[in-house]
């Protein structure tokens, strides 16, 4: 029989939080912002195939930072949940808030009861229409869900990047301007981010059911010029 040492719950929570924060801080950040006619998500990601930003449903996108295998599993669960809900009821009934709540519950459960907390921070964004508002839900490693207005920053250096982006982005600008601001906020002073290191996804109405689009290097370069 093994012996357990008593650990105060405050200490346990603190240790777990520190562990998760450390894991998240190792990765690069993501800026997501609402622009005049859509939502743009910008990640610093040198990999051209391991994505941090993805389509979940017709008007819902996902972004994650931290451990890739952990947030990718959440991404897959989100797609399954959305497709399953749309199949059972109707495409109109798939709502980002419900999905964000499920994510928050799961992350909260893993934080308190899991072997270890998930080292991820995720974002569920929704492009609004007549029936639903445009929304950015940020969900932290311990399950805290926050309804971000205008923009959200995920990742280790979030507060600094947030400050830099808030100084640049005034109101809902064009996609090109918002992208420029996001890239310069991610880069910080005295650093240039090459186009090849950027991953950009947008939610925008183009007269089709599915609104998510991944921008290629050429499109990103054109918007940044």
């Amino acid at each position: 029989m093994s012996n357990y040492f008593y650990v105060a719950p405050e200490q346990l929570i603190k240790d777990r939080a520190e562990f998760a924060q450390k894991g998240i801080a190792r990765g690069r950040s993501i800026v997501a912002a609402i622009y005049d006619v859509g939502v743009v998500m910008v990640a610093e990601n040198p990999s051209a195939s391991l994505y941090k930003i993805s389509e979940i449903y017709d008007r819902i996108a996902f972004a994650g930072v931290g451990k890739y295998n952990e947030f990718d599993r959440l991404r897959e669960a989100g797609i399954r949940w959305a497709d399953g809900t749309g199949y059972t009821y109707s495409r109109e009934d798939v709502d980002a808030r419900a999905l964000a709540n499920f994510y928050a519950q799961h992350l909260g459960d893993m934080f308190t009861e899991g072997q270890k907390p998930l080292e991820v921070e995720i974002l569920v964004s929704q492009l609004g229409n007549k029936f639903r508002p445009t929304k950015l839900y940020r969900i932290a490693y311990e399950g805290t869900i926050s309804d971000e207005e205008d923009f959200a920053v995920l990742g280790g250096d979030a507060e600094t990047i947030k400050g830099r982006f808030a100084d640049l982005e005034v109101g809902h600008l064009s996609l090109s301007q918002t992208l420029k601001n996001a890239v310069s906020a991610l880069a910080g002073p005295g650093r240039q981010l090459p186009v090849g290191d950027l991953e950009v996804g947008v939610l925008e109405d183009r007269g089709e059911r599915r609104t998510f689009a991944r921008l290629d290097d050429e499109q990103i370069a054109r918007l940044l010029s």
Partner: protein, 263 residues
């Protein structure tokens, strides 16, 4: 439904059907023959792709519905048509559409056209071997990798066969098929292929009581679709009306006699 998380061993992968089975979303089919049946769709390959034409009638003991859509875009470059049980067929289209999109989102890449064709085989097999509500679909599309139009037909047990010329499904098959056998030429123009496919549906509607022809009273005309490098395109009802009016006028002139010239 809660958040569907799986560990690596039990993960259903990018197949929506595998996931839906685990999550209990697919309903168990039961037997009944008291349901509407959808009939007669043709697909014809031509120089730059595939054309498809389908009648609009669902029939049980009487006409159940006059404006059924039996061809739907399964995705941008693929069309899926159904015959047999209308209820199971429409469900089948929904499941196929969702499956292709699900795969695309999960893996960030599209299934190949052949991959889509093969994916449907076990679905057809499962439906047809467990119920009397038989569904026979027809898959046609523009193959982006091989840059040509392709047609895949199925037998009742889910066997998948690629056709190089044309394919017909539904109760009007003998008449539509005969028309296509006599009229088909390789590398036809788009307009010739559309005219021939429309004629095949006209013949089927003329001889098979379960196939609906052009309805000049209600202004409902067979669906006409093209699949080319531009993707799935449905022709408007006015074009369909004109196509069928021409055939009808010709047939009226000859007093209903189809023989002589085919066109």
């Amino acid at each position: 439904m809660g958040l569907p998380l799986f560990d690596a061993q039990s993960d259903p992968g990018p197949s929506f059907v595998s996931f839906a089975d685990i999550a209990g979303l697919t309903r168990t089919p039961t037997s009944s023959d008291l349901s509407a049946h959808a009939t007669t769709v043709v697909a014809v390959r031509f120089a730059d792709g595939v054309v498809m034409v389908a009648d609009r009638q669902a029939t049980s003991y009487y006409v159940a519905n006059r404006d059924v859509r039996k061809i739907e875009a399964a995705d941008r470059y693929t069309a899926l048509a159904i015959s047999g049980s209308a209820a199971r067929g429409l469900e089948f289209i929904r499941l196929a559409q969702l499956s292709f999109e699900h795969y695309e989102k999960m893996t960030d890449s599209s299934l190949s056209l052949e991959g889509k064709a093969n994916y449907l085989s076990p679905l057809i097999q499962r439906n047809n071997l467990t119920t009397t509500l038989v569904v026979l679909p027809l898959l046609a599309g523009w193959d982006l990798a091989h840059q040509r139009g392709r047609i895949f037909e199925y037998d009742g047990a889910g066997g998948c066969y690629e056709r190089q010329d044309f394919s017909v499904i539904g109760s009007g098959t003998p008449f539509a098929d005969s028309t296509l056998r006599l009229g088909f030429q390789t590398d036809m123009s788009r307009d010739d292929a559309l005219a021939l496919a429309a004629l095949a549906i006209y013949e089927a509607a003329d001889n098979d009581p379960s196939t609906g022809g052009p309805d000049f009273v209600r202004n409902i005309f067979p669906m006409m679709v093209t699949l080319t490098s531009e993707g799935f395109r449905e022709l408007d009802q006015e074009t369909a009306a004109n196509t069928f009016r021409r055939i009808n006028d010709r047939r009226a002139e000859s007093g209903g006699v189809a023989g002589g010239t085919l066109r």
